[in-house]
């Protein structure tokens, strides 16, 4: 378990060591604090428990990652923070943003926060940019609506932002349409749009999934660079543990709508305390290994969020769930493993491996 494959991901050398001293909560001001958030969709087939009791903090200056399979509730969590899912019902909990509960905000107040204080970057930059407007105009529009800029001011700032995210010849590029941009350039443009108002939090929902591997690292580098320049925080939603290993300070692992592990990225990678996280780490290929160890996939498929398994939601797939009457009956609560590292497993890793 201790040979951590994902740390060797491209574009991430040395960053684990750098952040190794950052245990516990992040260094900066507390920006976002979710407290026992529970969000459901009511469908004809039943209630979908999309987010079930999620609690975490995001501080200024840090990269907070949410990791999990498709359908684990990571995007729903982000969209609920932004108030962008009209069909989702928040049953309990709070979303405190700079000390104020976003769930109590009116639509108008939320609109000012969206883009102004919390900005979002989407997965596919091709479909997230409007095909009929030039890139420059779309970036400039942010300044027009949030910063009350004149057309000229906004245009100038848009060009500046496009330059900042590493688009060559931003003045020319600003006049081009999204379809004339490459994938990586589009994502940079999307980032330029998001940082136009220097938001305090950037939510990046799978920002590199739709990109070529070769440009993924570049885009991530831009993202982290920008974070430092505008002194914000990043919430990174991804299923790519390589990306997380390279950039993240704090991370949360989600499974079937609930958080199974929360802590610093190093803690979670080096002293994994949940069998699901271990399963995820084991299914990442290792470029440097001698290929003698086969990849170990997690058996089975993620459960339906309508009929979740009893007890621990992961128990039907868990290789260690052999204690009758515990895993299948009792819902585990988050337990402190030390250093602010929380895990929702009835047992410690010592228990399962017998080491």
């Amino acid at each position: 378990m201790s040979d951590l494959t994902a740390t060797d991901a491209p574009g991430a050398p040395g960053s684990l060591a750098e952040s190794a001293n950052r245990f516990g909560s992040g260094s900066g001001e507390l920006l976002l604090s979710l407290e026992d958030l529970e969000a459901v969709f009511e469908t004809d087939d039943g209630v979908v428990q999309a987010v079930d009791g999620v609690t975490f903090d995001v501080h200024r200056g840090e990269v907070f990652s949410i990791v999990g399979e498709s359908g684990s509730g990571k995007s729903v969590t982000a969209m609920t923070i932004m108030g962008l899912l009209p069909t989702v019902k928040v049953r309990s909990g709070s979303i405190m943003w700079k000390g104020q509960n976003l769930l109590d905000k009116s639509e108008n107040e939320m609109r000012r926060i969206r883009g102004g204080e919390i900005a979002m970057i989407f997965q596919d930059p091709l479909t997230a940019l409007n095909p009929v407007h030039t890139v420059g105009r779309q970036v400039a529009e942010m300044g027009r609506i949030h910063l009350d800029m004149s057309k000229k001011e906004a245009g100038e700032r848009a060009v500046e932002m496009l330059g900042l995210v590493g688009i060559p010849e931003p003045r020319k590029r600003a006049k081009m349409y999204p379809h004339e941009f490459s994938g990586g350039m589009r994502q940079r443009a999307m980032i330029a749009m998001a940082i136009m108002c220097e938001p305090d939090l950037l939510i990046a929902d799978e920002p590199t999934t739709a990109l070529d591997v070769t440009v993924q690292a570049q885009v991530l580098e831009v993202l982290v660079d920008i974070k430092d320049k505008i002194d914000s925080a990043i919430m990174l939603i991804t299923h790519d543990l390589g990306v997380v290993a390279g950039l993240s300070d704090q991370m949360m692992v989600m499974y079937a709508g609930s958080q199974v592990e929360l802590g610093t990225t190093d803690e979670i990678f080096y002293s994994t305390a949940h069998p699901y996280t271990e399963g995820l780490l084991n299914s990442v290929p290792d470029l440097l290994s001698d290929h003698s160890e086969p990849l170990v996939p997690i058996k089975g498929a993620p459960p339906s969020l309508i009929n979740r398994p009893s007890g621990c939601a992961f128990h039907p797939r868990c290789p260690y769930a052999r204690v009758p009457g515990v895993c299948s009956d009792t819902v585990p609560t988050l337990r402190d493993e030390g250093h602010g590292h929380l895990s929702a497993c009835h047992f410690t890793s010592v228990d399962w491996t017998g080491e």
């Binding site: 596919d124 095909p131 407007h133 010849e169 490459s182």
Partner: protein, 303 residues
């Protein structure tokens, strides 16, 4: 994609402010595809010709619309009267030339009214969704169930028979179909990721509706609008024929067909020429509409 070239020639920094990068706008692409459609080009040329005829009617028409040649009643085409004369000796050619103004005015203004109301209502219904949408759409369905001819008769009785009542009737019935098209396009587009992204970046409802969705929804609207101009001209002819359109001496083409129908056997030119004008005009608009449909469809882009 022009990216590699653009990067390659980006070495020199002195042309930072020039417009040199060739951006192939969507409209340029559309025009290229449109040009390949011969029928659409013919239709477009015809429409331009018709507009010129309407503008310069005073110069083209040899007679005025009321001028009567006392010796010539219902006489066939001749050098004096290119399309012959009608039952009271008026020059049919001149009346058709002036009639182009009536047809275009009715076609364009009533389509404009229909588009304006239709886009407003349709976009609101499509974007808002839920109960509001259901209510608006049932209201539209209800009105679609009333034939426009019945409404035309009602309006003609109240406001009198005139060009303006025809514009009003066709505008007020035409928006229903426009609203349905706009609504369905908005329903599709409001779920598109760039709309979601716009919402996530704090753009307001109306900005999203009119700056972000509407430009992307223009394709079906433009196509429908073009064909609608043609079909309103046809509808005007039908109303005139039924006697609820403009009144004599307005040189409305439909009215001329209607007036000539009694003399179909002995003076067919009275119905033939205005009928031909109607058919060709309607066809031209349909051809152009079809051409636009193909040209503006992004799915056919790489054909």
């Amino acid at each position: 994609m022009s990216l590699p070239e653009a990067v390659a020639d980006s070495g020199a920094g002195e042309d930072m402010f020039s417009d040199e990068v060739r951006t192939t706008s969507l409209w340029v692409d559309a025009w290229k595809r449109f040009r390949r459609n011969k029928l659409a080009i013919i239709g477009m040329v015809f429409i331009f010709g018709l507009i010129l005829v309407a503008i310069f009617a005073d110069l083209i028409a040899p007679y005025s619309i009321t001028e009567r040649d006392s010796g010539e009643f219902r006489s066939g085409p001749s050098w004096d009267h290119l399309f012959g004369t009608d039952i009271i000796g008026r020059d049919v050619f001149s009346r058709i030339v002036y009639g182009s103004r009536v047809s275009l005015r009715i076609g364009i203004f009533s389509t404009f009214i229909a588009m304006f109301i239709g886009i407003l209502v349709g976009s609101f219904a499509g974007y808002t969704g839920g109960k509001t949408e259901g209510f608006i759409m049932r209201f539209i369905d209800m009105f679609l169930a009333i034939p426009y001819i019945v409404l035309a008769i009602a309006v003609a009785t109240v406001f009198g028979r005139s060009e303006n009542s025809v514009i009003l009737v066709l505008g007020l019935t035409g928006w229903l179909a426009v609203a349905r098209i706009v609504r369905s396009t908005f329903l599709q587009l409001k779920k598109v990721e760039y709309v979601e992204a716009a919402r996530a970046l704090g753009f307001g409802k109306f900005r999203i509706m009119y700056r972000h969705i509407l430009p992307n929804a223009l394709q079906p609207i433009i196509v429908f609008g073009t064909i609608a101009i043609g079909s309103t001209i046809l509808a005007e002819a039908a109303l005139s024929f039924l006697g609820v359109g403009p009144q004599d001496p307005t040189p409305a083409w439909g009215l001329m067909v209607s007036q000539g129908k009694g003399d179909l056997a002995n003076a067919p030119h009275l119905t033939f020429f205005p009928g031909l004008a109607i058919s060709l005009t309607v066809l031209a608009f349909v051809f152009v509409g079809d051409g636009l449909r193909d040209a503006l469809d992004p799915k056919l882009k790489d054909r």
